[in-house]
């Protein structure tokens, strides 16, 4: 099953990725192969098998509502490519 160029571009857009035409075609092939592989599961008879809601067989792991140590403003912004007035600075998102 090949994934169409449009689908690849759409998913790439959502993921903020940019592909050349050749890459888009290759992604279509590769994603198709991945989906085909997963689709082999469809061959298994799952009648009577409970649906998996979560992969971990663990439940109710909680923490108590107790305040711990936060980072300082300087530490928080240490890796920021750009910062201003104690804030992270990103390209303007509203016109």
């Amino acid at each position: 099953m090949k994934i169409s160029n449009e689908e690849v571009t759409y998913v790439a857009d959502l993921s903020r990725l940019e592909f050349s035409e050749a890459e888009t075609a290759r992604m279509g092939e590769e994603l198709g192969a991945v989906l085909d592989y997963v689709a082999t599961l469809n061959a298994v008879d799952t009648t009577g098998v409970k649906a998996t809601e979560h992969i971990l067989n663990v439940q109710n792991v909680f923490r108590e509502d107790e305040v711990g140590q936060s980072l300082s403003n300087e530490e928080a912004l240490a890796n920021a490519p750009e910062a201003e007035s104690g804030c992270f600075k990103v390209p303007r998102v509203i016109e």
Partner: protein, 481 residues
């Protein structure tokens, strides 16, 4: 053509936990930018979120208070989108298995009771704050990132701005009573999103809806619904189509406008959050949470009417706030005059609070002081008029009403000898009133009473003054006849 308005709502309420949903950073409002962060809420790679126990407890309580079914099994999911208010590039939320489903809340508008369906309540994390003003870029404050929220989603059951407002107010009231959220509108701890469409009257086919997000006052909510429903009807009458979109409500200009942001198409590609394990709540735990629920506004209102005998209207005004209800109950416990206490809480106290920019949380005197004030009036120690001056002084921080009355010499004049002397003087000074009464104009009695109150600076006991005035005037008329 007539149209029906169809409204559904999404209500986000920040939960009153001390810490964030997945990390131990504090949730306090108003801290300096980016001082309540850690690798978890900053979205650093390799961190492990752990769910705050209180979040589950509060969401369960909220669900029970809103008549929902609590799910025995629920789980967290990732809602993927790129926007700088979420450094992880996904919001941890709940998708197909929310913690509460299928609730209902009755609202009363114009004497009619209408049930509003609650589709679901799920838990999720709040996003950070974006600051667009001034800077050439956008500034991001991550403090709010990871503050726990519940999102309450309704069925499209509301039909007017008034219903939308009534529902929003009721939900806020219940959440406040339940103690799961502080519901401070001005701090954005409760926010309303409205989905609105219009359809031909009586038709079963829903129109295209628009969404208005983050309405943060009841007034804004009501106005936004009025405006947007009118706009849609006008568009349809012009033969235009309604475009499904998010619109921004400008409360200053009183208009909604199409929101142009760089936010991508809404394709969230939800999937189960692999770092967080499912939440399992037993029936016993649900029953326990139910038993722990405090008395809710509806029940309180009914009890005030039956137990305290105050009118339903008074009961509903007082129970609109948990704090004023508690204040009322304490005052009534101190001095059992529920109606008189209710009157102060509905009229004079709100006026003072407004004037002084205070709230029931910051009122400078306690319920026992209010009870004392009412007792002073009831016992005849002060007049109702003086009581208003006493309250003024109580708001000015002078403390105990009895001490205020004493300090200002405001005790009601109930010594008939002293009062009689003053009244004699008043009658002597106003011979015209006496002759008016003699010729049948009984209204002049009122004038004389007024003069006596003036002469005593309002301290005369009015009933006693009236009796003495009548006695003396009649005696005088009798003499001249």
């Amino acid at each position: 053509m007539e149209y029906d308005i169809v409204i559904g709502m999404e209500i986000h309420a920040e939960l009153a936990t001390k810490t964030k949903i997945f990390c131990s950073c504090p949730t306090t409002f108003g801290a300096d930018e980016n001082t309540h962060t850690c690798p978890v809420c900053l979205g650093m790679p390799g961190v492990l979120p752990v769910l705050n126990k209180k979040v589950v407890e509060y969401a369960t309580k909220a669900g029970l208070a809103l008549n929902c079914k609590i799910a025995n099994f629920s789980k967290m999911d990732r809602k993927n989108y790129f926007y700088p208010d979420l450094p992880k590039a996904f919001q941890t939320s709940q998708f197909d298995l929310p913690i509460c489903v299928g609730g209902v809340l009755d609202i009363e508008v114009g004497g009619e009771t209408r049930p509003i369906g609650i589709t679901r309540i799920h838990i999720e994390e709040d996003a950070g704050k974006l600051i667009h003003e001034g800077a050439d870029g956008t500034l991001v404050d991550v403090n709010r990132c990871g503050v726990p929220l519940i999102e309450i989603v309704t069925e499209p059951d509301m039909r007017s701005a008034e219903e939308a407002r009534a529902f929003a107010e009721k939900v806020r009231n219940i959440l406040e009573y339940t103690g799961v959220s502080d519901c401070k509108m001005e701090e954005g701890s409760i926010r309303f999103d409205v989905n609105l469409s219009v359809k031909e009257k009586g038709s079963d086919v829903l129109g295209t809806r628009t969404e208005m997000k983050n309405l943060n006052s009841f007034r804004a909510l009501e106005r936004a619904v009025h405006y947007e429903s009118k706009r849609q009807i006008i568009e349809l009458k012009k033969g235009h189509r309604i475009i499904q979109e998010t619109r921004k409500w400008d409360d200053v200009k009183g208009v909604s406008s199409s929101m142009r942001s760089k936010e991508e198409a809404h394709d969230y590609r939800y999937f189960p959050e692999p770092d967080l394990v499912p939440i399992v709540i037993s029936d016993e735990e649900i029953a326990r949470a139910k038993a722990e629920l405090p008395e809710l506004p509806e029940a309180k209102k009914a009890r005030y009417v039956s137990e305290y005998g105050i009118p339903e209207y008074d009961a509903s005004v007082i129970t609109t706030s948990k704090v004023s209800a508690a204040y009322f109950e304490e005052a009534v416990a101190a001095y059992h005059e529920p109606k008189l206490i209710a009157n102060w809480l509905m009229v004079d106290i709100p006026a003072h609070l407004k004037e002084r920019e205070l709230t029931m949380e910051t009122i400078p005197f306690g319920p026992s002081a209010l009870a004392k004030l009412v007792e002073l009036i009831k016992s005849g120690a002060i007049s109702g008029k003086i009581a208003k001056s006493v309250m003024e002084k109580m708001f000015e921080g002078e403390g105990d009403p009895e001490a205020i009355v004493k300090a200002h010499g405001w005790a009601q004049m109930s010594d008939s000898g002293e009062l009689e002397a003053i009244i004699k003087q008043v009658i002597e000074d106003n011979p015209k009133s006496v002759s008016d009464i003699a010729t049948g104009n009984k209204k002049a009695y009122g004038f004389l009473t007024g003069q006596v109150m003036r002469a005593t600076k309002g301290q005369a006991n009015p009933q006693m003054a009236n009796q003495i005035i009548r006695k003396l005037v009649e005696a005088q008329i009798g003499k001249t006849e």
